[in-house]
Symmetry: D2
Subunit: 88 residues, 4 copies
Amino acid sequence: MKPDVRKEVLTRLRSIAGHVRAVERMVDEDRYCVDVLRQTMAIEKALERVDGLLLEGHLQTCVADAFREGRSGETVKELSEIFNTARR
Amino acid sequence: MKPDVRKEVLTRLRSIAGHVRAVERMVDEDRYCVDVLRQTMAIEKALERVDGLLLEGHLQTCVADAFREGRSGETVKELSEIFNTARR
Amino acid sequence: MKPDVRKEVLTRLRSIAGHVRAVERMVDEDRYCVDVLRQTMAIEKALERVDGLLLEGHLQTCVADAFREGRSGETVKELSEIFNTARR
Amino acid sequence: MKPDVRKEVLTRLRSIAGHVRAVERMVDEDRYCVDVLRQTMAIEKALERVDGLLLEGHLQTCVADAFREGRSGETVKELSEIFNTARR
């Protein structure tokens, strides 16, 4: 992972961990379930943005290297698997 | 929120918070980006299962009450909004 | 289904059928795969908007009736199932 | 697009077009909205499988060529865009 991607991913994961703890408190305080649901869905969107960063970094480094070095088979399989998991 | 749903949601949120911290460590240790990506996507699936619990609880309690008491307009709007957010 | 929802859903489904045929032609003409992919994903979004209309209509009619008539159990199960299918 | 992928994609798109027409008939006959919704969601899944085929073909041909020929920048941008659109 490139240093700038890694730093950005870490910052976002820390913020997401804080968001999860805040939602735990909302449930503890028995807040309205739709408000809780809106927050859990917001966390999912935040995680999807992390996925986007990770994938872009992966394409720019590992995938580029794999294709240049003739190891494209495994990389294509991994990318297809990631794409299919992302949709499910 | 019904007590059993609340308890189950809390247990799952704690487990999800632990999972997020574990992924932070993976990034800190500069692990392979595809392995990190698989974990962030697994956390999203875990959060979606929490959404499912929250929604089912919401339908059984708040939505049932709202329809019985003739306050269905706002509830229908909220459910449509949740459904549309869930797909995006 | 309410007549206005039904009419709107039919109009959109006809437009979607035309879009699918247009994509078939693109594939027949061996167009760039990313352009084809953008179109199939656009059709999915169009179908999701139809889902949104169907669900909103369902909530305003069948669900409202079911809750008023004390048949909420089956309705809650159906809505949870729809929500979970929509996310997968 | 490789000939076998193209043939498979065309077969699936024709089946999807038939499925859309069948759903139009269901709406015309005023069938239960949840049954219609289940079918529109099934068509989305069928389209997502076409996306999977298109992407895998794209990775094996255009992407492989682009990386080998040093034109990786545009390809990385396209793949990131596809991934992000797929999640929305």
